[in-house]
Amino acid sequence: MKDVFDLLSKFYPITLGVLGIGLYVWNYLDQTNKPKGWLSYLLIILAIIHLVCFYANYGFEDVWFWIWLGRDVLVLVLAIILYEYPKWRLAFVLFFLGFTGYWIYENHFISSEKFISTISDKTEIEADSSAELIVQLHDPAQFNTLRDILERTSFPFEIKEAFPQLSNKELTELDNCYTIDLPNEEAARQVYELLEKQNIIKTVEWNESYHISPIETNANPSPKPPRSFQFINDEKSAEQWALDALNIDALAKQLKRLRPKKTAKIFILDTGVDADHEDLKDNYFSVKSDYDKDTHSHGTHCAGIAACVTNNQKGVASLNFNNRFCKITSITVLPGGYGRQENIMDGMIMAADLGADVISMSLGGPNYDNSQSLYEQAVDYCNKKGAIVVVAAGNSNQDAKKHVPAACNNTITVAAVDENLQKASFSNFFSEQHYPLSAPGDNILSTVPNNKYQPFNGTSMATPYVAGILGIMKSLKPDINTEQAFQILHQSGKKLDTHEPVGTFIQPSKAIMQLLQTRRTFHWLIEWLLKLFTFKK
């Protein structure tokens, strides 16, 4: 049902245009005394379809439903009124042509960015729960003044009663307390400084419940409540802590309405991939049948992390929401789990020649002699062919510069962190890498051959998470290169407080937001002019 609504919502602006043109024709037939009975029925059906699509796009629960419904009715009434004035008929036609043209423009060029800009007040807040303030007013009657002050800032915010469950409000002033969710800590800091100076504020504090560090203990941890995700229905997703850490709900909310410009191809260079796995096969394309089997499990595991089939009520989930952004394939370079550097480089070149957008390599070896230089030349080739190469940092708890291809200057290199967002004990760390990042790599549940699922540990597991988000970025902005992609992932990522540096921890929803915002500069004028007539809230 959700898919049907998603589909209908896409037709919403078209139905408005068709309805307007239908009214125009109806008017024409009416004024020239031609029969129009059939058209009347058609218009009624169109109006019903339009309302359904309109509902699918906005939903009753949203205040925007009524605002934009009013706008559409106004447009149609204007169209009818204008028709009565022959001089204005041309304006009416141009108006609807413009409407339709803008719709095409919007959906093919800027829909992604606009969606982000309009949902950012919700999604961004959810992406960083650490940015919450708690304020106490001298008088609850000053709530509207507080809201006005917040609205004058440039930050999206959510404000709500801090203690709505108070049963004896007369015994406390806590009913004067409100929590303010802000998109990030910097915004919260600025708002904090602003509110401190306001006379209406009794106290303003950071909501400390979000700043408690985990207490180290040797006792068995109490079982965590099962995870549930709003937009993910895969059977075992509750066991995937990484989805929580990567805020997959916020990402799914964004991706739900974005249209990829292409389906990105992620190449897994590994031990092969079990292409018949129930949670992979619909998202897998083959480049050679020899590569579509995996006698080891490692490659299949990595493939599942990068882009397994998500929302199929089976197995695990990946970042590739609803499977619209990426496909995966395999090139077997380490059939038994180990092999020669030449095989890896051959695989890289083959992947690049086959149009890879992302090459994921969860492998490595010691950094001998000129091995780094050779790898870098192969990576250069891949980059020139449009592929981004992402590699594992290695599992020796050493500086990753001692390992290749981890040490290469033109790869994105990924370290592993555990569920407490600390460096995984085995993971290599970074001192000189050009493009270091981190991702979940401990106790990662994913696909293994024969329709099975197992948790693995390793920087190999962290690497395909980064490959997965890179694939989505490539699908939305195909010409993005390694440097640009890294900068987005780095700037939008979470800074971790670890003993050894592991790079910023990727935050996919924020990365997508930032990716799309970089494209906005070309469209700001049009967006501003057409703000009132945009089709999506």
Binding site: D270, T271, H296, S297, H298, H301, L334, G336, G337, Y338, G339, R340, Q341, N343, I344, S362, L363, G364, G365, P366, Y368, S371, A392, G394, N395, S396, H403, A406, F426, N428, Q454, F456, N457, G458, T459, S460
Partner: protein
């Protein structure tokens, strides 16, 4: 170039990394990744002596150090 064989003694350790890997930890603190440890020897903390050959394969999914092939192995 002659094949260099190494006689090593130490303790076998299973590491739950990358789907599982066996290493020989020698008394001098070396951690050698064994790529073909026979199943009958796959026992945690087993003390063994082995004749090893450094693998020509320098790259692996384990990413934990040099790889060694086991040519001969026995419990000690």
């Amino acid at each position: 170039m002659p094949i260099q064989l190494e006689l090593k003694a130490g303790v076998l350790k299973y590491e739950d990394i990358e789907g599982g890997v066996w290493r020989l930890v020698t008394s001098s603190g070396e951690h050698l990744v064994l790529i073909n440890l026979p199943p009958s020897f796959q026992e945690q903390d087993l003390k063994v002596a082995a004749i090893l050959k450094k693998s020509e394969a320098e790259t692996s999914i384990f990413m934990m150090g040099p790889l060694y092939e086991v040519l001969e192995i026995q419990k000690i």
